[in-house]
């Protein structure tokens, strides 16, 4: 099997280098032009969709707050505003949700780590005052269909993250002692379920002190 195109010697050897460069430049310019046009046309929709998805996810894990905003980690501190000239995607961020009275209801954190097959990316919301979880959603995973992907689809499993309290402990289904930290694992998909718990615990450990140190007073209320 030869997948490679048969590279034959070019027939016309007469073309000058200048001609080649000119042709390539023209072709490149045309291609660039076409791309820019399409990019400009599609980008708004793409960004809008991404934002919508993120909004939905944050809304879901913070139990539909009235509004939410983004906090950036700058110099080891969470702040609302980015320093000038900074590019947004260079900074880690968390989301904070507010109720109708503009008082914070909880924080949403995105974190990822290795699951059964590949990275698992999870967003979860929790209330820093009690440590109580408000919701969890798997944003990205390639876990085995029909088995590991239960961490996205098994509503019994996903639903628990509205009631438990961080840090979490995974237990075999039905063998819990009623402790609020306990999360029932998924039979047959223990690794994936455990990965979710570990993601949350890791993120919690990292962000909780930062979040607790964050002073709401100087932000939204003002």
């Amino acid at each position: 099997m030869s997948d490679e195109p048969q590279v034959q010697e070019p027939e016309d050897n007469g073309a000058s280098s200048a001609g080649i460069i000119a042709t390539l430049a023209v072709a490149g310019m045309l291609a660039g032009l076409l791309l820019v046009v399409v990019y400009e046309a599609t980008q708004p929709r793409i960004l809008a969709y991404k934002e919508k998805m993120m909004k939905e996810a944050v809304g879901l894990v913070l139990q539909e707050p009235a509004s939410f905003t983004t906090l950036y980690l700058v110099d080891g501190k969470l702040t609302l505003d980015l320093p000038e000239d900074a590019v947004e995607k260079d900074f880690e961020k968390v989301f904070v949700g507010y109720d109708e009275h503009n008082s914070p209801v909880g924080f949403a954190v995105v974190h990822n780590r290795a699951g059964f097959q590949d990275q698992v990316k999870v967003i979860f919301g929790y209330d820093p005052e009690t440590g109580g979880m408000m919701g969890m959603k798997v944003l990205e995973s390639k876990e085995t269909p029909g088995l590991g992907d239960a961490i996205e689809k098994d509503m019994d499993f996903v639903g628990q993250f509205e009631r438990v309290v961080a840090p979490l402990v995974g237990v075999k289904k039905g063998s819990g002692s009623g402790d609020p930290h306990e999360v029932d694992m998924i039979t047959g998909a223990t690794i994936s379920a455990r990965a979710v718990i570990r993601i949350i615990n890791e993120a919690f450990e990292r962000w909780d002190p930062l979040i607790k140190a964050y002073d709401h007073g100087g932000s939204k209320d003002a």
Binding site: P5, A31, L34
Partner: protein, 217 residues
């Protein structure tokens, strides 16, 4: 190169010289994204679009493309159309786009497309190049659906997300895993080879019978 009729240009790629099943080109998408019919179709359409667009451009521009850098130019043209397809899909059907992931960008290195430019579009008038692209693109799409069909039916018990076997169907998860991709294409090739072999045997029997009849006469 043999002279061909327009009809041959169109139909050749669909089955007799099917890019995936016969020529074994473009295997990467044919294996990677065919876990459902929907994904297969989306990939097929995207590839079709890129093939059509680049065949058209290459055929139009063939006089201006210097021989020394023609491959690079083809790749550039293809990459342009791929990027267009990538962004359009993301804007129009973000869910499908997410499932196909990086494999849309990888259409650039689908040897099938580059092969058509080098072997056909760069040497033929625009009309013929388009016919060829339509034929090959359709052939690719057919192969994609054949792959996706088997994998979705066995792997999920459905076709185009319509359940076929009721709720209690036990899906064959392996079919939508990578291993299933290899196996499914293997199954299809086995089947096609078996069919071809049978046809050959039959022809042999017929020929033998004919010749014996002739001898008898």
């Amino acid at each position: 190169m043999r002279e061909t009729t327009p009809k041959q240009d169109l139909f050749r790629g669909i089955w007799k010289e099917n890019p995936v099943l016969i020529q074994m080109l473009g295997l990467c998408p044919a294996l990677a994204v065919t876990n459902t019919v929907e994904n297969s179709l989306a990939m097929g359409v995207a590839t079709f679009f890129v093939l059509l667009g680049s065949s058209l451009s290459v055929s139009l521009l063939k006089k201006f493309i210097p021989g020394e850098v023609r491959i690079s130019t083809y790749i550039m043209i293809i990459a342009t159309f791929v990027t267009v397809a990538d962004m359009s899909l993301e804007a129009m059907v973000p869910v499908v786009h997410k499932k196909l992931g990086a494999f849309i960008a990888l259409i650039v290195v689908n040897c099938m497309i580059l092969g058509r430019q080098e072997a056909f579009a760069s040497k033929r008038p625009v009309g013929r190049a388009l016919l060829d692209a339509v034929g090959v693109g359709t052939g690719f799409m057919i192969a994609m659906v054949m792959m996706g069909g088997v994998r979705e039916i066995l792997g999920m018990g459905s076709f185009l997300n319509i359940p076929l076997f009721g709720d209690n169907y036990e899906p064959w998860v392996v079919m939508i895993l990578p291993a299933g991709g290899f196996l499914t294409l293997g199954f299809w090739l086995l089947g096609l080879n078996w069919w071809a072999e049978r046809k050959k045997q039959r022809q042999k029997v017929l020929a033998a019978r004919e010749s014996s009849e002739r001898r008898a006469a």
